[in-house]
């Protein structure tokens, strides 16, 4: 088996790389694929929190690299889904603890047993980023429809293009707020895609459910009623090669529709 190594990156911090990693990973595992999530944000790890695995971590990526344990020992199985594993980052060290070559070796080893290796990349374009992308052949660039995030995404796309090993990269636009877009106060998905001229893999609507799901340590894809959860599931399907139409998240349309509906009811009554 040769698994696919996909790095999830953004340049800017706080756009939802880790949330995206946790959700895509969970969605892929739910559909039956064997998945490893690697947190490369050494010193600032959070992927364990989003998956609710913070209490189960014994060994980390750094322990594997420094040969204090075997790779298999460091993989923490998810609570619900045995197909999903986490290789956590060390919290007490910094990015220099792991080199690009070392991470590449780990990815190669994992490729033999798993379908997907998702690498959660730290923010920035320095050492941590270079390390995170070293083992990957695909990338997902996460951005939001904000200027600073789009600019940083453009920089990341430039760096990914220069990297021969990265065969394909796709754009995931996170925290889209349809009501702001409708009021012309936020760049739309089309605007961002046009500016970055990059293929799209997902549009995730802003969802307050993300906060509560993070609080509980349970990815939002487990919530059947969540729009963001559905959108992440669709991303997972697209990664697996299925053609899924993008969700219609035109909220204000719904708002006007609601008024229309209200009208209808009035007219009938």
């Amino acid at each position: 088996m040769t698994g696919r190594v996909i790095v999830i990156t953004s340049g800017k911090g706080g756009v939802g790389k880790t949330t995206t990693s946790a959700n895509i990973g969970t969605a892929l595992a739910k559909s039956g694929s064997k998945v490893v999530l690697i947190d490369t944000d050494i010193g600032l790890r959070n992927l364990d929190l989003l998956l609710g695995l913070e209490n189960r971590i014994v060994y980390t990526l750094v322990d594997v690299v420094e040969e204090r344990c075997k790779l298999k020992q460091a993989l923490v199985k998810d609570k619900k889904n045995p197909n999903l594993c986490l290789l956590a980052a060390a919290q007490t060290r910094d990015k220099t603890a792991v080199t690009a070559e070392q991470l590449k070796e780990i990815c190669e080893e994992l490729q033999e047993d798993y379908d997907f290796i998702l690498v959660d990349c730290p923010a920035g374009i320095e050492h941590g980023f270079q390390t995170a992308i070293s083992g990957a052949s695909e990338a997902i660039v996460v951005t939001t429809p904000e200027m600073s995030a789009v600019r940083d995404a453009d920089r990341i796309i430039g760096l990914l293009e220069a990297k021969e090993e990265i065969k394909s990269y796709k754009l995931l636009i996170n925290r889209v707020r349809p009501n702001l877009i409708k009021a012309n106060d936020m760049m739309s998905v089309d605007d961002v895609v046009d500016i970055l001229s990059c293929n799209l893999i997902g549009i995730i609507p802003e969802d307050t459910g993300i906060i509560t799901s993070t609080n509980r340590g349970e990815p939002i894809v487990n919530d059947e009623n969540s729009m963001a959860g559905k959108a992440y599931k669709n991303v997972a399907l697209r990664i697996q090669g299925e053609e899924v139409p993008f969700l219609d998240i035109d909220e204000p349309h719904g708002f006007i529709d609601k008024i229309k509906k209200f009208f209808g009811i009035k007219a009938k009554a």
Binding site: R151, G158, E161, A183, N184, D191, S197, I256, I259, K260
Partner: protein, 180 residues
């Protein structure tokens, strides 16, 4: 009762559809596009300024242009980046003017070359050289000034004619500039 709702409905629709022109989204897109052009090409403000100055020098040789209104920008569609130069033309120079300017430039170049070659020699001589150069330059300036004075009326005439047409020259050098 229905009228109230119709009114409300229209107001809501109007709220969402109005002010599309200068909405913050459009401002954001435009600012972002500009900043990305510069990020992608690695052209900083200083380099653009230098390019601008040299372009003005070259173009001014052949046409009189409105230097203040000259607009030099990078624009792009997708991966392709174009250098857009928009120059309001005041009037074309006559053949005699062009020749005079070219001659002045040649002299300047010759002086520069002479200066460069004499740089190896002793400080004393160099000081002498620069003095004499200063004199030459002054003379050159004087002659240029007198030329301009002679032609002032002509300039005014053509000004009034051509400004109404608001003639503009636009140069576009489209080049594929792959992101680096």
């Amino acid at each position: 009762m229905k009228d109230i709702f119709t009114n409300l409905y229209n107001k809501v629709i109007g709220f969402f559809q109005s002010d599309k022109g200068d909405s913050s989204k459009v401002i954001a897109s435009n600012r972002l596009k500009l900043v990305l052009m510069h990020d992608r090409t690695n052209l900083d403000t200083l380099t653009m300024q230098k390019m601008r100055e040299q372009l003005i020098k070259v173009i001014s040789r052949y046409i009189e242009i409105d230097q203040e209104a000259l607009d030099l920008n990078l624009e792009g569609e997708g991966d392709a980046i174009a250098l857009m130069l928009n120059i309001p033309v005041i009037r074309a120079r006559t053949l005699e003017e062009i020749e005079a300017i070219e001659k002045a430039e040649e002299e300047e170049l010759a002086q520069k070359a002479a200066k460069d070659s004499s740089e190896d020699e002793s400080d004393e001589e160099e000081a002498d050289d620069s003095e004499s150069e200063d004199n030459d330059e002054d003379a050159a300036e004087d002659s240029e000034e007198s030329e301009c004075e002679e032609e002032t009326p002509e300039v005014e005439n053509s000004d009034s004619e051509e400004n109404s047409d608001s003639e503009q020259a636009s140069v576009s050098g489209k080049q594929k500039a792959k992101k680096k």
